[in-house]
Symmetry: C2
């Protein structure tokens, strides 16, 4: 699998996910602002991946800051950090990464600007490496929840392309596959952006994991027919009570899973948990351009002047979530209590 | 509004719904077999509309039968009828119309072949006229269920284009609009065929009824936000217990409506009720070509070799249905008892 994002000399390269699977093409960023634009335009997407991109983008932007004094550097860095954090509102990983990079700068007041720049780049590489490691751990924990011969439904793309590599939901699927569990995947196509049709199918086919794509409308039908054994999705933000923000349509899948007695799992790193937010209703939901609805690929398929609503995420109340799979283990209800416990453990020094 | 289907001299003309809304183009049928192909390829779609097309197609095909004797004519007509009934499996209106045309032929054993041909054409015109009349009555009954200022969610296209004119679900919406109820419509785009994006929006915009289109994935989110007051869909077949076959995704909308305390109404003529079928599980569900999933418009948006599942309909268990709106009135639970009563009334001579 080609990496989702990487340093290439002093540039940040990312696979342009708008063009997949028809074209596999690098999108090259030379400035921090270009990374912000890439996140906004969804050249790169997926909560952990945009966290990584934010880290790299800040290191990239820092390199261009011409300040000599720590104070001048810090001031300019914080402005860039604010812009980066505002690139997309829902996934908390973006803010988490910005926070982490900011904390590093704050801790280096005694260092030279060049040392800080160097450290920022190293930190951004660490975020990437840690993310892949997290995903592998999540996979190991999560695969225990996947029975032999199971058919797994997934929504959107929570795969290698949404992360540093390996994936969250698809990481669990990969781990189950590697254990020889003989699983099959059904991928919601995930309108409007078609992450399932374009990205999840592409990734899984490359790995030889059997996958069939369906219209989002067909998930409930297949559940009722007994053709889906469990659901695994990723997350963009998890509130302290276990409510999950994820790609639009996730809430529907969760309600349908419950109505059909099927477990609904969320796989996400602890960096996706926003312990400050009491409930999912406090998570900001991005509204994207209506064009995503009526312009499919290059074609316009709607009458001129059509109105469209395009919320990009939704909130799944925790009562629909069977368990949350993290790199620290599997979190089960009651989520308020158990998320807090896992959160505190994840903060503790190793 | 242009008619969905009509006689034009000795030809049957239908609006090619595959090309809407970008092109408004007639598709001309000169033979019965061409109507069968048009139904199969979805030049025309929607349960009542394909019933009307079947009637017209049989009259058209009958005109080409060169038999002189009643028996020879009848034999050839029945062969054509069988092919017509098999064009698509789920909507019962198709079989209903074929049955009606067959019964007419059976009742005319004493007549000349020319008289029968003439009578078949007249019958097919009657099916069309009756359908429009039914829709208007449904609209009158149904609009009482729509509160002033309500926002109505609809799935697929159950409009003028799915019927002889006016529509079933959209007929109710039109009637509420005509009563000055100041309603708004939210239309599911309805993947994979995009009937909501392409057809429902087109129809409602022509009539000046406010409509916004959403990805099918967003219906649950909007329900949870309190932005939808009721749901109205059409139906392709209704079993004796009130289970409803309709466009894929309808079941999901119904489950979500229930989870959010929103009424879910089905608008359909009595010809959609299949009183012989005890439950929805006996309704055959058409599987359509996987291309509908991975080829959006003219573009292929998936990796080569991708597998896709494409059930075209689903079954909504009657427990999710608040009421069924028909031309005979509003049917409420218990459906087994009340559908039977309405069915028997609809058979009684006027």
């Amino acid at each position: 699998m080609i990496p989702t994002i990487k340093w290439h000399d002093s540039e940040v390269w990312m696979i342009d996910q708008r063009k997949l699977p028809n074209k596999v093409q690098w999108y090259v960023c030379k400035r921090g602002g270009e990374v912000i634009a890439a996140i906004r335009k969804m050249v790169i997407r997926g909560a952990p991946a945009i966290g990584i991109a934010a880290g790299m983008g800040l290191a990239l932007g820092a390199n261009r800051i011409r300040a000599r004094s720590y104070e001048a550097f810090r001031r300019q860095f914080l402005i860039l950090g604010e812009k980066m954090a505002a690139a997309r509102p829902t996934a908390v990983n973006l803010q988490w990464a910005v926070e982490r990079m900011k904390n590093l700068v704050e801790s280096m007041a005694e260092c030279s600007v060049d040392e800080i720049k160097e450290a920022l780049r190293t930190e951004s590489e660490k975020i990437l490496e840690e993310d892949i490691e997290c995903n592998k751990k999540m996979g190991q924990y999560g695969q225990k929840l996947v029975p032999k011969g199971a058919t797994v439904l997934t929504h959107c793309n929570a795969g290698a392309l949404a992360t540093g590599g390996y994936g969250t939901a698809l990481g669990v699927i990969r781990a189950a596959h590697e254990k020889g569990k003989d699983i099959k995947v059904i991928a919601d196509e995930t309108r409007p952006w078609l992450q399932g049709l374009r990205l999840t199918s592409f990734e899984l086919m490359q790995d030889g994991i059997p996958v069939s794509v369906i219209a989002d409308n067909a998930a409930g039908f297949l559940m009722r027919k007994g053709r889906i054994d469990l659901v695994i999705t990723g997350a963009d933000r998890i509130a302290a009570n276990g409510d999950v923000a994820n790609k639009i349509g996730t809430y529907q899948v969760a309600v349908l899973a419950k109505a059909n007695g099927i477990p609904f799992y969320v796989a996400a790193p602890m960096s996706t948990v926003d312990i400050r937010l009491k409930s999912g209703d406090m998570i900001p939901v991005e509204e994207r351009a209506p064009e995503e609805i009526y312009r499919v690929g290059k074609q316009r398929l709607a009458p001129p002047g059509l109105r469209a609503l395009n919320p990009a995420f939704d909130i799944t109340p925790s009562k629909y979530v069977t368990a949350i799979i993290t790199e620290k283990g599997i979190i089960r209800p009651p989520f308020r209590k158990n998320l807090k416990k896992f959160w505190e453990n994840s903060r503790a020094p190793a």
